[in-house]
């Protein structure tokens, strides 16, 4: 069997794998540690599972530690997450104390020895108190902290400023900090179940297994049932398109049982969709990677009509599958969709309908944009570019 990195040679731009091997030599033997708050579920864990073996193959001795917390700790960090993304939250003294205590306990139990440590998101940020001498510590912020709730940011900032560097996913997420802040886009793994090539038979079997016939063009949005993803706006856009073009709409996503808002949004979408056999609402479990892959490959046009978005990697997933994407003009969607080249950015349901109709009227345009979308994703949003950025940062900090 081929070495893991070699498997990427066929899907990445020429020279990528060789360059990674050369870059790896500059940090060979270094120890790298990642710390986050969950081993499974969520984008951070997903990418770490894929990145770490590649770093190991390049000679970086990589470990991954996971925080152990209490219920109150997780409720607190969920509130932090919302507050940092601009949603007002009530955070009590007990919650702050619990957050600090869990980090103190973990600082004693986790092995934090490494040349370079990457601490992901706010949950483990106070571990900086336990940084070993001479180690380089990086705070990797995956969330949109452009307009944080002030009290929470004031609480976290004293920890963040003691890191050697921070990483954010977009320039506008950067805060005024006295430490260097680097820009690293997140990525998708082209060889994972969610993104690997599928045969036409696999696509047909999987999509029909979900109850979606492949008899007419499919408009698709894959995302949680969340107001910010504007699924109701997508239904409105579909209604406008449907007047002139026979097509199906598939809204696929998950909603956690402990998320009352998710259920409320799903109800609103069901109401908006009404009784229409061409609208399919699919509530999928977090493990439905193959199903999402097949739906994206079966789709004619992919929507990501968010009104607010961190990065929105579902856009990169669709680009990688050669699909034009119509997305909301917000956050990371704007660096993934190049209007007229890889899709279109819009600010309304009407805009989404307009561009969907333009594409449906012109199959050649769908093919051209799809081809460009795939090449753009290949260059900018694959895991190999992500790995290159992390190795480059290690070289930069360790020299």
């Amino acid at each position: 069997m081929k070495a893991l990195l070699e498997q990427y040679r066929e899907v990445t731009p020429p020279g990528t794998v060789d360059f990674l091997r050369q870059l790896g030599r500059r940090v060979e033997g270094k120890q790298m540690l990642h710390v986050n708050s969950t081993r499974y579920g969520g984008g951070v864990a997903e990418i770490l599972h894929r990145l770490l073996p590649l770093m190991e193959e390049l000679g970086v001795k990589t470990r991954w530690e996971v925080l152990t917390g209490t219920d109150l700790f997780y409720r607190t960090t969920k509130s932090f997450h919302n507050a940092l993304q601009g949603m007002p939250q009530q955070i009590t003294r007990d919650m702050y104390d619990s957050y600090l205590q869990v980090n103190r306990d973990n600082a004693k139990s986790l092995n934090l020895e490494a040349d370079v440590a990457m601490i992901h998101d706010p949950q483990p940020a106070p571990l900086i108190d336990a940084r070993p001498k001479d180690a380089k510590w990086i705070w990797r912020c995956h969330i949109d902290v452009a307009t944080p709730q002030r009290a929470v940011w004031q609480f976290l900032r004293p920890f963040v400023v003691r890191y050697d560097a921070a990483i954010c996913s977009l320039p506008k997420f950067a805060q005024r900090l006295p430490i260097p802040q680097f820009l690293v886009y997140p990525s998708i793994d082209p060889l994972s179940d969610k993104n690997r090539e599928l045969t036409p038979e696999e696509i047909l079997r999987t999509v029909e297994g979900l109850g979606v016939p492949l008899d007419k063009p499919i408009l698709l949005q894959v995302s949680r049932f969340d107001w910010f993803k504007d699924p109701v706006g997508v239904v409105e856009a579909y209604r406008m398109v449907k007047k002139s073009h026979d097509c199906r709409l598939v809204l696929a996503g998950g909603t956690a049982t402990d998320d009352p808002e998710g259920a409320e949004v799903l109800l609103a979408v069901q109401k908006a969709a009404g009784i229409d056999p061409d609208v399919h609402l699919l509530v999928l479990p977090p493990t439905a990677n193959l199903e999402i892959n097949a739906l994206q490959r079966a789709a004619t046009i992919v929507f990501q009509k968010s009104t607010r978005e961190g990065f929105g990697l579902t856009v990169a997933e669709a680009l990688w599958k050669g699909k034009p994407v119509i997305g909301g003009q917000t956050g990371g969607i704007m660096v993934q969709i190049i209007p007229g080249m890889t899709g279109y950015t819009v600010n309304s349901a009407e805009g989404a309908a307009f561009y969907a109709k333009r594409l449906l009227n012109n199959p050649n345009l769908i093919a051209t944009i799809g081809r460009q979308a795939k090449e753009y994703a290949r260059e900018r949003f694959l895991i190999t570019r992500h790995l290159q950025d992390y190795l480059g940062l290690m070289v930069h900090l360790c020299r």
């Binding site: 360059f19 500059r26 320039p171 802040q181 950025d389 480059g392 930069h396």
Partner: protein, 208 residues
């Protein structure tokens, strides 16, 4: 490879843009005038430097965009000269208009600087033929490193290719080296520069 560092400085109008251009590190001026060459063709923007593109698209100031857009980084031998020219153009422009153009799209100019991380490609050449063949197959980042980085950030003004080809410790082909220096002034993309240098090498090899 290019590691991008966000400076956390943002401009929402042309007056603030000038102020920040005056104070940012040279690496930021370099990033906003040279990283164009490394970008995917879809996102290279209207003009080949970020200042020109932002004032034209986001401050709706087409005139200043055009005046900055024509600026050729290969006309300068160091970054401070590039900065000075940008400030002169912008200062002159703002002195002749009554209101300072402001961002109308909600997208501020975000200052970034870059750090280029080098990796040895284990590729050594000894003859013009080997050089030509090596240049034809290296990653575009290597072309950027030996053309842009060498000239403006490492003080090797003619660029590494021309230096080696024209230098006595290299091939000693001065005329070919002079022609290669001129390639930078043509306003080509990196791929275009590579193609032109390959063409010059082929002509020199055919004449030998």
């Amino acid at each position: 490879m290019e590691l991008r560092e966000i400076l956390g400085k943002r401009a929402m109008d042309e007056a603030r843009l000038i102020e920040i251009i005056e104070e940012v590190p040279p690496d930021s001026i370099y990033y906003h005038t040279h990283s164009y060459y490394l970008r995917h063709a879809y996102i290279q923007g209207v003009f080949p430097n970020d200042f020109a593109t932002w004032v034209a698209l986001h401050a709706q100031d087409r005139v200043l965009g055009e005046r900055l857009g024509v600026l050729d980084p290969f006309d300068f031998d160091d970054i401070e000269s590039v900065r000075s020219e940008i400030l002169t153009i912008m200062g002159d422009h703002l002195n002749h208009i009554k209101t300072v153009p402001v961002c109308t799209t909600g997208e501020p100019f975000e200052f970034v600087r870059s750090h280029v991380i080098e990796a040895d490609l284990d590729l050594k050449v000894w003859t013009l033929r080997e050089f030509r063949d090596g240049l034809a197959r290296v990653d575009m980042g290597a072309v950027f490193n030996h053309v842009c980085e060498a000239r403006l950030r490492k003080g090797r003004a003619p660029g590494d290719f021309a230096s080696w080809i024209g230098g006595r410790e290299g091939l000693g082909r001065e005329t070919l080296a002079e022609d290669i220096v001129k390639v930078g002034r043509l306003g080509l993309s990196l791929e275009g520069m590579r193609g032109k240098i390959l063409q010059l090498c082929d002509q020199a090899l055919a004449a030998a």
